[in-house]
């Protein structure tokens, strides 16, 4: 039942398999120069370059990996957000909105519109606590006043984001009564603040959002940025305030920048994909090569074990392991890699069996090279083509499994995150914030697609015999 794969160089007799151990005989090199021989790898490379889908895939995977590797500089100079910096929003913000990339100033200048002159209403040339306070109030009012006519209807008030209704404090007598009686702010209680009783709340009526948030915020800003300790900010000090940055892909419910988290999550997802593949590669290649090379009874036993394990609900054991041993990321690599090595072992065994009767192996045996050395120095390098192809196709499979575990809450744990974990978070609020599941899902799908295209392209390039056309 074992698949015997053809030699990487197929029946193309012109290219004799060369050990990739680097040493090229000078005479052979000269001969190559003369007849312009194409090696297997050069040939494969040319075929790969011609495959547009595979090249696009390679490019995308490369771009994703670069983003993952360059996470630090990207965060520092690009997105300006920290992946785990919570801004305590209860609503996720839509893609393209702004927020200030620091927890302490989470409400400051949220839309990026405040300038010194705007805040300094009385043209005193200085910004004191009162001005900042006032700026917050106006900002809140404008946010509520959707039709921009300077007065609020109940509908406008009601449609305010959730942050408003909890953090907003109507500043009037009635409010104080409500607050004293500990009654919940419900329905139109706030309209008792409507002084002229025309059914609208005017700016003067509202005093929205004062005590709780902006009062403290104003004092906090002054205490941090009023370096001259005058009690107000000068234009120069104002420049020192953190600027709002754009959340290109929106934020999650805690106000964390989704783009930053996506890049960070990609880092983990790709790392898990690569490392678990490496684990599966090591186990599978060793197992398969040993079975294939030694042959006989040992081969029979080792391959029977593989056959049996094929039918096992491995992923359930992995789930159990992850549940039980607390989502350790190293364990995740090992567990996922340990699940994926079976096919690799089969492929390598097939390759090794077809290679081991060739002259170069006999030659090695004659001069007394040890068995492990023959396997690892001579056989495996020559079987590298199919191994690389299969390893490339293992990466998306492992990434998918990691995402699957993280989605169940069993993989990567906070404060770390991965695309699967992000998708899991997004699912819980997908009605309110569809972008939260859309971006990680898209990132995952595009990466998997690229890796699959790349794997297919590599197979076509390295294994022309396997190509189904």
């Amino acid at each position: 039942m074992t698949t015997n794969l053809p030699l990487p160089d197929g029946d193309d007799g012109s290219s004799i398999p060369k050990g990739t151990d680097g040493s090229v005989d000078p005479t052979e090199k000269a001969a190559n120069d003369l007849i312009e021989g194409t090696s297997l790898w050069k040939d494969a490379w040319r075929r790969l370059i011609k495959n547009r889908a595979a090249m696009t895939g390679t490019f995308i995977v490369f771009a994703m990996s670069m983003a993952a590797i360059l996470y630090q500089p990207i965060v520092e100079y690009g997105t300006r957000f920290n992946q785990d910096e919570q801004h305590s929003y209860i609503m996720p913000k839509a893609p393209g909105s702004y927020s200030v990339p620091s927890y302490h100033y989470r409400l400051m200048d949220p839309e990026g519109e405040w300038s010194f002159d705007v805040i300094d209403r009385h043209d005193t040339g200085r910004i004191d606590a009162e001005d900042i306070h006032e700026a917050y109030r106006r900002w809140e009012f404008q946010r509520l006043d959707r039709d921009d006519n300077g007065k609020l209807t109940w509908e406008e008030y009601e449609r305010a984001p959730f942050t408003m209704s909890t953090e907003t404090v109507p500043d009037c007598e009635r409010w104080n009564e409500i607050r004293m009686s500990m009654a919940p702010i419900e329905d139109r209680a706030i309209f008792d603040c409507d002084a002229d009783e025309d059914g609208y709340l005017h700016y003067e009526d509202t005093g929205l959002l004062v005590e709780i948030v902006s009062g403290g915020e104003a004092r906090d800003i002054l205490s941090r940025f009023d370096h001259s300790e005058t009690g107000y900010l000068t234009a120069q000090e104002f420049e020192g305030l953190p600027r709002p940055e754009r959340n290109w892909l929106g934020t999650d419910q805690l106000g964390r920048d989704l783009l930053t988290r996506l890049i960070y999550g990609g880092r983990i997802s790709l790392a898990v994909g690569l490392l678990a593949t490496l684990v599966s590669f090591l186990i599978g290649v060793t197992w398969g090569a040993t079975a294939g090379f030694v042959g006989g009874k040992l081969d029979n036993i080792m391959m029977r074990i593989v056959d049996v394990m094929y039918g096992l609900p491995f992923i359930f054991l992995v789930i159990l392991l992850m549940v039980v041993f607390g989502q350790n990321i190293i364990l995740l690599f090992i567990a996922l890699g340990a699940v994926q090595w079976l096919t690799m072992a089969r492929i390598v065994r097939g390759q090794v069996i077809s290679l081991k009767s060739q002259e170069f192996v006999e030659a090695a045996q004659t001069i007394g090279v040890s068995k492990p050395a023959i396997i690892f120095r001579h056989l495996i390098p020559n079987a590298l083509g199919p191994i690389i192809v299969y390893a490339t196709l293992t990466v998306p499979a492992v990434m998918l499994e990691e995402a699957f575990l993280s989605f169940l809450g069993l993989g990567v744990q906070a404060p770390q995150t991965s695309w699967g974990a992000l998708a899991s978070e997004g699912r819980q609020v997908m009605e309110m914030a569809p972008w939260m599941i859309l971006w990680p899902g898209l990132a995952l799908a595009v990466t998997l697609l690229s890796l699959n295209f790349l794997g297919d392209g590599l197979r076509d390039a390295l294994d022309p015999q396997l190509r189904k056309d």
Partner: protein, 358 residues
């Protein structure tokens, strides 16, 4: 053939036994225990069982955990159970409550003893009682299994019904625009994880269009979205396999012979090519079952279905040892059995493969 089946069965029993032992020790080595859902809180908790007459989600209400002194209704033989904090070491009989169910299902015993107790239970042909709910494991799984099986079969049906025709079409019209578009769609299909597809389907068909309910399983219609979510990935994969199979078979001599005989293209494809072309699909069915069962864990989670997968994850999180082990045993048995069936099916389809000479 009989010898083959016999040998495989014996090997399977051995394999399942190994899995049981491994899982037994994994669960027992885990921190925490069945009665501490919150992990590490009270030294002793009082667990009230809820009545579980409805097969709807949630399958069981989580137990209400209370500190011991608030367990006013507790009586040794009532539905309230007192469970000790530690199971890592045996608790000496000094505990005044040890006359009661403190040795609840033996979890205060040493790991070896616990394993022995479990194996003895198994030997009696029982999977034991759930440690959290008041049902036996067999009852729980029996109630959940139909959902999972139905989900799996429907998904498989979708996979085969979409995948095989699509793969045939692509393979027979190789290198045409049909081929390229089918294969691109299939590639996209195998790249979208089901836990992304599922929520998106809910978003579109349940929340926006309102055609299906978003969660739960009450009528057949509720199983449509989960089955599609689970099946589409495999449809894409089956399409790829079928196309590969068709391309391999279509240039074989016997197809040329069939054509030379003057058979219509339809008969050549349907009667001659299809059988050979489906071989890769058949051999994929074994792994596909395993993958479908694993996938159904996520799909059941997304759609809040009362299937085995939901039980598995919850019981593992709640440390309901018996239910975890029962689920694993059931999964392994199911898979090993299905794999055996697939292998036999394979010999029927491909007489060249024979297990006699092994």
């Amino acid at each position: 053939m009989t010898r083959f089946i016999l040998r495989r069965s014996i090997a399977s029993v051995f394999v399942i036994f190994t899995i049981i032992i491994i899982s037994l020790w994994i669960t027992r080595l885990a921190p925490s225990n069945p009665c501490l859902e919150e992990r590490q809180v009270q030294a002793c908790t009082c667990v009230k069982m809820h009545d579980l007459d409805r097969p709807v989600f949630p399958l069981y209400s989580p137990p209400v955990l209370m500190p011991l002194d608030s367990c006013e209704y507790w009586q040794p033989d009532s539905e309230w159970v007192i469970i000790p904090f530690s199971f890592d070491f045996p608790i000496p009989g000094t505990d005044p409550l040890s006359v009661g169910p403190i040795h609840y299902m033996g979890i205060s015993e040493w790991g070896n003893t616990q394993a022995a107790i479990y194996l003895r239970t198994l030997a009696r042909g029982s999977l034991g009682d759930s440690m959290i709910t008041d049902r036996t494991v067999l009852e729980t799984l029996g109630a959940a299994l139909p959902y999972t099986i139905q989900l799996g079969l429907q998904a498989l049906l979708i996979a085969l019904l979409i995948g095989i025709p699509a793969g045939l079409l692509a393979g027979l019209r190789q290198n045409t625009i049909t081929d390229y578009s089918v294969m691109t769609v299939a590639m996209i299909g195998v790249s979208i994880p089901n836990f992304v597809l599922g929520p998106l389907l809910i978003l579109l068909f349940s929340l926006h269009l309102g055609w299906f309910t978003a969660v739960g399983w009450y009528t057949w219609a509720d199983s449509v979205l989960p089955s599609i979510t689970l099946g589409l990935f495999y449809a894409a994969y089956v399409a790829r396999l079928t196309r590969g199979g068709v391309l391999e078979v279509i240039r074989k001599d016997y197809i040329r012979t069939a054509r030379a005989k003057g058979l219509s293209e339809q008969i050549v494809v349907m009667r001659h090519a299809l059988k050979g072309a489906l071989l890769p699909v058949v051999s994929y069915l074994g792994p596909a079952f395993a993958a479908l069962l694993a996938g159904s864990v996520v799909v059941e989670e997304i759609f809040s279905l009362p299937g085995v997968g939901t039980h598995f994850v919850r019981s593992a999180l709640n440390r309901d040892y018996n239910l975890v082990l029962g689920t694993i045993i059931m999964y392994s048995t199911l898979l090993v059995f299905l794999n055996l069936v697939v292998d036999i099916l394979y010999t029927v389809l491909d007489p060249r493969v024979s297990y006699e000479d092994e």
